[in-house]
């Protein structure tokens, strides 16, 4: 069962993500910010996919991903953002990502992307 690490500062979004991903057959770990993401990866090892909100307090998903990439973690990552395109405020031009998911989330499309990246 592929393991997905989801990070978002909204508990409701985390619950929604967990429910949809678990229904689709994934094992889900959750984090409330980027700091928890790096700690979890350090603790339990890299998951099969990172699903990170771009903007979170303490440490953003992009900052967390930048640190992980610097530490040699190659896990595929999707960035979730309220912005409509990567050109907006939270652009992640300097860090390699595998996809950009915009809110409101189209779960059918997201689950396809997740399946493709964890295959």
């Amino acid at each position: 069962m592929p393991r997905v690490l989801v990070a978002d500062d909204s508990e409701t979004i985390l619950l929604l993500m967990r429910t949809r991903l678990e229904l689709a057959g994934y094992e889900v770990e959750t984090a409330a910010d980027g700091q928890e993401v790096t700690e979890l990866v350090a603790g339990t090892g890299p998951p099969d996919l990172l699903l990170l909100d771009a903007m979170m307090p303490r440490k953003s998903g992009i900052d967390a991903l930048r640190e992980l990439r610097a530490a040699g973690v190659e896990t595929p990552a999707l960035i979730v953002s309220a912005h409509q395109s990567p050109d907006d405020a939270d652009a992640a031009n300097d860090v390699e990502i595998d996809g950009y998911v915009t809110k409101p989330i189209d779960f059918d499309a997201l689950l396809e992307q997740v399946a493709a990246l964890t295959r």
Partner: protein, 392 residues
């Protein structure tokens, strides 16, 4: 001078009249003597002397009057010339500052709010100059405040439309979760969830539209332009929209002129505009209406028009049709799913491309919305120009 002349003239005239009056008295006295029998040569001589004297006096008066008239006329001319010289001097000293003010006003009206004039000259023009500069100061201050407010408004709308996306994701996501267990819900509950989802989608569209407008207002809507063939793009949009028009038994047709030159645009944005225009034509027209999409070359532009034979838009509404949140007849909007921002966005997108948009409509006949996009020769030259135009 003229006044002195007139004074002297009056004085002289008085003297003459006194002398004439005295002459009559002398003559009358002589005539009385004659009547009383003292008819002598000497007395008759007095009478004829007096008659002669008065004739002489009359002549003197006439020539005096002529002299005075000449004097008065000369005085008037001299006075007028003096006044003219004085005025032209005054006008000359007013002219420069006034011309400066006219120039400065034109520059200010043209939007250069930093325009100021040099204060100087007569006290009146100096006061005018100072008033102008104060007005310009105030205008510049107001403009700066307005810009600041506009920036805050744009920031607010951008932030709000982002912040609302997370809760919207939750509401929509959980409603979708319910629908995943559709078979366990009753028909009323399914209908309820469908209403929630419909409204979520509407809210999503509204947020996207607001974001587009705010970005366009803030000058942050960057276009990713590329040489674009319009025929296949229009064709594709029409095919996508056909599901909706078919459901309303409306005829959606296209008429694209062959060999349209490529335009330098962001294809996604042109698609967005076309979807907007066709959706409006479809939603505001009754069942069995016709909607036609056409494209042709007009001068140095390509014009794309969307026409319908729907109810048309009354004149007062047509004037404001591209304003924000202005929508068609309230009776219709109940079943129309738009946000009231589509045409405002279409307008700003077309203008961002350097094009124009216009609406024509006649009540009971239908409406036509046309956009014109410039074919820039230099930019079109970048396009890999196809040997044959793609058939539509």
């Amino acid at each position: 001078m003229a006044v002195i002349g007139v004074g002297r003239f009056i004085q002289q005239r008085q003297d003459f009249e006194d002398q004439i009056a005295r002459s009559y008295q002398v003559e009358m006295a002589a005539r009385v003597q004659i009547a009383e029998g003292e008819d002598s040569a000497a007395t008759r001589a007095v009478v004829s002397d007096q008659v002669e004297r008065r004739e002489q006096l009359q002549d003197d008066i006439s020539s005096g009057t002529r002299d005075t008239a000449i004097l008065v006329a000369a005085g008037l001319i001299a006075g007028l010339t003096g006044a003219l010289l004085l005025f032209s001097g005054l006008i000359a000293s007013l002219r420069r500052p006034l011309e400066d003010l006219v120039d400065a006003s034109a520059r200010l009206a043209g939007g250069d709010l930093s325009t100021r004039v040099e204060v100087g000259g007569l006290s009146e023009t100096a006061a005018l100059g100072r008033a102008f500069n104060e007005m310009a100061d105030q205008l510049e201050k107001d403009a700066a405040e307005r810009e600041q407010l506009d920036r805050l408004k744009d920031e607010f709308v951008l932030t709000a439309s982002h912040e609302l996306r997370s809760p919207l994701t939750s509401v929509q996501g959980f409603a979708e979760l319910l629908m995943l267990e559709k078979e366990r819900l009753g028909p009323k509950q399914v209908e309820t969830v469908e209403i929630i989802l419909d409204n979520c989608r509407h809210l999503g569209r509204l947020l996207n539209d607001l974001l587009d407008l705010a970005r366009s207002d803030a000058g942050r809507l960057a276009l990713r332009r590329e040489p674009t063939e319009l025929a296949p793009l229009i064709d594709d949009v029409v095919r996508t929209m056909r599901a909706q028009t078919d459901a309303a038994n409306q005829a959606l047709t296209e008429q694209i002129e062959p060999n349209l030159p490529p335009v330098y645009v962001e294809p996604g944005r042109i698609r967005q505009i076309l979807v907007n225009l066709i959706t409006n034509a479809h939603e505001y027209s009754p069942e069995r209406a016709s909607v036609q999409v056409s494209a042709r070359v007009v001068g140095t532009d390509v014009e794309i028009s969307v026409s319908d034979d729907g109810p048309g838009i009354p004149e007062p509404q047509l004037e404001h049709i591209f304003d924000r949140f202005v929508r068609g007849d309230a009776g219709l909007t109940q079943r129309v799913g738009g946000t009231g921002l589509g045409l405002a966005i279409s307008k700003s997108l077309v203008e961002l491309h350097g094009g124009t948009i216009r609406a024509e409509s006649a009540v009971g006949v239908g409406s036509t919305f046309s956009i014109r996009l410039p074919v820039s020769p230099s930019e079109a030259a970048v396009a890999p120009s196809p040997a044959t135009a793609e058939p539509s």
